[in-house]
Structures are given as C-alpha cells and as structure tokens.
Amino acid sequence: MTAAPEQDQTLDPGQRDEYLALLRRMILVRRFEERAGEAYAQGRIGGFCHLYIGQEAVATGSLAVLRADDYVFAAYREHAHALLRGTSARAVMAELFGKATGCSRGKGGSMHLFDAANHFLGGHGIVGSHIPIAAGAGFAIKSRGTDQVAVCYFGEAAVNIGAFHETLNMAALWELPTVFVCENNRYGMGTALERAAAVYDVSRRACSYDMASETVDGMNVLAVRDVMARAVQRGRDEKLPTLIEARTYRYMGHSMADPIHGHYRTKIELEEQKALDPIAHLQHAMTAAGMLAEADAAALHADVEVEVEDAVRFAEESPDPDPAELYADVYRS
C-alpha cells in the first residue's frame, strides 16, 4: 500500500525559480497549518479543523499547473488549496477565526473556504458531495466550449461513496474536462483503506469507467506537478477526464479533535512516513544540486514566518461579523 518512493528526479538548473516557488508554497502551507493547530489548541479556532501537514506536495504540485480561469473544488481539509489558489493567508486565517474579514466572511469556517474571484469553490464538508459538483463545472466548461478544466480534490475514503462512482461514470460518458485528484493519505479518519475497500489501488477504479488514471508519489511535489500537467492537458486538448491517485500521508490526526496515532496506526509508522517529508525532500534535493544555499533556505523560512504571523495577527484583530450578518445571504435577492 505504501507508495514506492520514486527515483529523485534530476533537477533542471533552468527551473530553479519554479522549484523555489514550490518550496516556498509548501513551507507556507506547513507553517500556516502549524499555527492554525496552535490557535485551535488555544481555543481561538472552533469546530472541526483538519490540517494538511504531510500532504503539502499534492496540492502544491498539482495547483501549480492550473490557470486562473480553471475551477477548483476541495473537501474539508482545504486550507492549503485556498492558499495555493491565491487566497491570502490573512483571509484564510481570519476565516478559521470566524472573522468578518475571512474569505467566507466568517460564515463558513475551516471546512467551507470559498474565494469566487480565484475560482476556488469550496470547502465541502460531506464526504464525496463535491465530486459531482466539480463534474458540473466540467459540464459547464464543455457547454461553453472553452479550454478550462475543473479540478476536484478528495480523500481516499470518498472513493467508496456512490457519488464518486456516479460521477466518474458521467464524466467519462460525457467527456467532461475534469481532473479528479484523490489524496490518498491512507486513513479515512481511523479506518485504513485496506479495511474499507475491496480494491484499494484507487487508480484502478478508473478502469470501470474507461477513464485515464495515474498513480503518483504524493510526497514528491515535482512528480505530482508532472502527472497533473498531463491530466490538465488531457482535459484542455482532448476534453477528457483523469483520475489521479496521489499517495501521501497526514502527520496529524483526522481533525484537531482526534489523536495523531493510537488504535489505528502506530507511532513507528508515523515516524517512517515523516522521513519521506515532501518539504525536506525538495529542500535537500535543491541543496544537493547547489540550487539552494543555507542562507537562502533560512530566508525562505523567515519570510514565510512573517507572512503567517501577520495572518494570525490580522485574524486576531479583525472584527466578528456584524450580528445582522446572521440573516444575510440565506437567499440572493
């Protein structure tokens, strides 16, 4: 079940700036999530809060190849996707704090981040419910005849739900330009995929629908980027959907309310997986290739620290929504 670590790609000196950008984004996501976890522990973030720590390479690598006019849908572990789509750290953190300045004006919270201007359309809290929704954006794209794609992120536990199968069938049947990205972090809350699925090689599920699929090492941001680039091209050029299975791992519990390890996975397994850390992986590769001096790396981390601290301060200082907001936006008039 563990994804075999892929061979380190040979880094191309001509792509240094892109590697640096990917590295910075992963560090931003990591640090943002660490600070969100702290704020949750302090009671400043309420409700459910699902952190992305460990999975950074998946969203970072895949979102890097999209255009601004593509549509992105995610589940409830989606702080990273909003950030990487271009929502400011301030607006995401403020939303987690439930503030009026949040990207959903304090009405959505951690699980319902939205940023329509960036075509980031949620933030969906029911497992699998946004899979047909993303295909609906693909349907609209096809109707209009543009070369956009719709992208849907979901966890591996969603592949056992009916909506997944109904959607893959329709997306293949109708040839909808949609990329389905399964972030296989191996556990649906506390249930290992092998304990929940007769076929746990997720990409094989696409065979039933005659859909293209690929499995990728989700701890390798460059590998994810390359697989995603092929899928997006397939959507733009051939108007065909793709199922990607990115094998990854979450370091934290299912949500902040859940244990990091225990009955369902061991501390040893967790430590083994952390050794495959996606950020360390790229940082070491760049350092080894002479593309990243120690001072550069330190500057990168310091720069991210400033951005995240600014976001936390902004969230703390922002006002709560006006009480009149309670009844606003139930209906559009």
Binding site: Y71, H130, P132, G136, S143, A163
Partner: protein, 327 residues
C-alpha cells in the same frame, strides 16, 4: 385564450426560458430521446440538442450534483427527477449543497437551479411511489419551494423559478399533468411567494396547494349548494416563502380556517400555516384551525385503502362544519 394541459404549460415554460437564456439546460432521466417519462420535455431535444437536453444515467445524486456545480459557475440548470420519490437519493445535493452554498460562501456563490418533477400520490403506485415531500424541503432555509395547481400557475411559476437566483424545489403532480386550463399566448410570469385566491368566499378559508386545490374547490362547491357556506379557497402556490399576508387578509374576513394538504399530518405544511396564523391572526379566529391531510400511514396499494388515505372533499366539508360549529 388557448386551453392547454399542465404538462404543456410546463413544456412551454422550459422552451421559452431556454430560448431566452442560453445558460438554461434540462438534465434528467429520459428527458431527451424518450421525450420525458411524462412527456413534459416533449420536443425539447429536437429544438435544443443534446448538450442542453441531457439524458442521464439513473444516478440521481450524481446528476443533481452536476447541476449544482454547473449552477455555481454560471449556468441555470433545470434538473428533472422522474419523481420526487427518487430524489431522496439526491437530497444531499439539494439540502447540503444547493441550499447552503450561498450562505456558507459568505454570499459569493449563488446556486440558480430548479429541481423539478412530480410528487405526491397518483393511482395505486403504493408506498414508495406516492409521497408528498413539500414539508421536507420547505423546512430548509436556502430553498424556495413551489407547488402549482393549474396550467397557468405551472407555466408562470416555472418561468420565475428558472429566473430565480436561488435553488427552487418545484413539485408537480402526475395527476395534474393532464389538467387543462387557460394559458395566455403572451409572455407572463407568476412571482414566487404569492398565494392566489382561487375562489372568493366569506364564511371559511380553505388553505391548499397543488392537487388539494381541486379537492378544496370541489368541497367549496358542495358547501355552497348543500350547506349554505361560502368558502374562500386560497392556493398557497409557493410554500417557501409562505404568503402569510394573503392568509391573514382572508382570515380577517372569514374568521375560520381549514388547511388541506396531500402530505402527512406530522410537521406538515398545515402545521406551519397553523403556527403562523395563531400568532398573526389570533384575534380573527372564531374556531381552532383544523387540518385535512393524507392518513398518517405509508400509502397502501389497494384502491379502496388508497382512497381512504387521501384527503377528500368529504373530509374538508366535515372539517368546515366543525369550525363553523355546525357539528
């Protein structure tokens, strides 16, 4: 004025709105090649092509979700459920997705979508095919719920529903599809949220919608001829938002009220009407408001039992006589 069926009135509404707005499309089981399970979409595939009249697999949850997603990016889908019984498979998309998106996105992402199809009982279709779900959907903030009773209202309300920027649950009736009525040739719409007095009267207000409008009108005729009572029949037409001012105005003159609905009694539409009116019109009431509903049982197959389960003019007349203190 042309006289057409309720079915053709719905067909005209969709045809006109699809001609008017290229973002409108129809999706559902058998809507295209088969011309609609109940022929409501007859001729639309030929006129608009398969990208706008879309036959789906039997996958209610999936195609309802496709509609929600298309609506989120600027289309105006009309999702046809072959019946609302099957729509229970899709209720996650109606309730968790369509109804919530605008609010939980902080007003960024409207979902202009219509979910439509026949609801309620027809004839001897038994328990799983004979259910009126109005109150289920009317319970949900974020949804509008419409249930027209006549061809005129069906066309005008469906056109309004398609133009509305919110998700609209539009409940039709198998037993209404063949009903004929006058529908003008010229363009018109019926606004959502407005009840309609289908028959004026001063002795009692009969509140009804969809198929029970016919039940109430039949009861009203017999009340007039056999019991000397003039009933005012108020068709709610839209169940959410509910037009309480029109009901209050009627009750102010009649002082008595019976609510007639096709659904079950518990937490039904009538329960909501009674709740509103006891607060809003307490001083106008001369008697407790009574309700006539479907029997509180799953619908039986046997035709005599089925008849006994459905609301009838006899039950309405009996309720009216009680609120008039005649019995």
């Amino acid at each position: 004025m042309p006289v057409i069926t309720y079915r053709d009135a719905l067909n005209q509404a969709m045809r006109e709105e699809m001609q008017r707005d290229p973002t409108v499309f129809l999706m559902g089981e058998e809507v295209g090649v088969y011309q609609g399970a109940y022929k409501v979409s007859r001729g639309l595939l030929e006129e608009f092509g398969p990208q706008r009249v879309v036959d789906t697999p039997i996958a209610e949850l999936g195609f309802a979700g496709v509609g929600v997603g298309a609506a989120m990016v600027g289309m105006r889908p009309v999702i046809e459920f072959m019946t609302w019984n099957f729509a229970l498979l899709a209720i996650d998309q109606v309730v968790n997705s369509a109804a919530k998106m605008f609010y939980m996105s902080g007003g960024q992402v409207p979902v202009p979508i219509v979910f439509r199809g026949p609801g309620g009982a027809a004839l001897q279709l038994a328990a799983q095919h004979s259910q009126a779900f109005e109150s289920w959907y009317a319970h949900i903030p974020g949804l509008k719920v419409v249930a027209p009773a006549t061809p005129y209202d069906a066309k005008g309300l469906l056109k309004s529903a398609i133009r509305d920027d919110n998700p609209v649950v539009f409940l039709e009736g198998e037993m209404l599809y063949n009903m004929k009525g006058e529908v003008p040739e010229e363009e018109y719409i019926v606004p959502l949220g407005a009840a309609d007095v289908k028959r004026p009267g001063q002795d009692v207000t009969l509140v009804c919608h969809s198929k029970t409008v016919t039940v109430a009108l039949k009861a009203a005729e017999r009340l007039a001829t056999e019991h000397g009572l003039e009933a005012e029949v108020v068709d709610l037409r839209t169940l959410r938002p509910l037009d309480i001012p029109t009901l209050r105005e009627s009750l102010h003159r009649t002082n008595r009220c019976v609510v007639v609905e096709e659904g079950w009694p518990f937490c039904g539409i009538g329960a909501q009407v009674v709740d509103d009116l006891q607060r809003e019109a307490f001083d106008d009431l001369d008697a407790p408001i009574l309700r006539v509903t479907q029997a509180d049982v799953p619908m039986p197959y046997n035709k005599h039992l089925e008849r006994a389960a459905k609301p009838t003019p006899d039950q309405v007349i009996a309720a009216v006589r009680r609120v008039a203190y005649l019995d």
